[in-house]
Symmetry: C2
Subunit: 137 residues, 2 copies
DNA sequence: CGGTATCCCTTTAGATACTG
DNA sequence: CAGTATCTAAAGGGATACCG
């Protein structure tokens, strides 16, 4: 995803001027946690060290290309630590950094919010779809 | 975005079994707040009612197609309320529902997390890029 | 004013074969 | 084992013209 972002020119998120820089920090974090596999990796590495193939087997449907790309981005952002052991066959281990743990905690509270409100959302959707269906006649 | 999701088969997010249903609630909420324009709309409607054109003018670069799609999804999820006044020319107003306010609060705490850790992330990236650059030689 | 409809392009992700 | 390379498919989003 690109441009616009909930970054304000001031310190206040609710300010009226919106930043459209791709560099916006909030947007970047959001893009990271919202991508298709990052959250799974973050959760699997919670209090646990896993190797590449272990991650791959634990995440149903991920291709080696996407898993590599995902862990590399997480590593680049300082959320995951990658350790290469110079042995044959190669052994590479992944674990969360303290920053990764912190983000995982943040995500947990989003999960909690979702659990608390999923019924409301579902009800809203049902009503919306029902009204849409009846006005189609 | 599609399939996999940080939904467990149990109540516990940290459980080991991962759900790959597109219906996962967490994934749906994440997809909503991570899309390109929803967060901007949510923030602009904070404590404020705005008309379609007002939103459009406030969000730099949004096309009518995307703005319509964005507010419709937010409305369907019960986050935004859309009120049509049967006058000519038409008048349509958007405002947050209590659920929308609640999600906006949740997002605010993500913003806060990001502000608190953006220096760490930036430092990690710099180091990663620096190492990548030097190992390229 | 508040949208829809249409077309097109870019980004993202999946499949698969291959390698140090 | 832990990836990389290449190709393809699909989703997301932009531009623009038009309509009730």
């Amino acid at each position: 995803m690109k441009l616009p972002s909930p970054c304000s020119d001031t310190e206040d998120y609710t300010a009226r001027q919106w930043d459209t820089r791709a560099e916006c920090e909030v947007r970047q974090v959001l893009d990271r946690i919202a991508d298709k596999w990052s959250l799974l990796v973050l959760a699997l590495l919670d209090r646990r060290t896993l190797r590449f193939t272990e991650l791959r087997r634990s995440i149903d449907g991920v291709s080696p290309r996407m898993l590599t790309s995902t862990v590399r981005q997480l590593e680049r952002d300082g959320l995951v630590e990658r350790t290469v052991y110079p042995v044959v066959p190669p052994r590479v281990e992944y674990r969360l950094t303290p920053l990764g743990v912190s983000l995982h905690d943040m995500v947990q509270s989003l999960v909690t919010w979702t659990e608390e409100h999923q019924d409301e959302i579902a009800a809203a959707r049902d009503e919306y779809d029902r009204k849409a269906a009846e006005s189609a006649y």
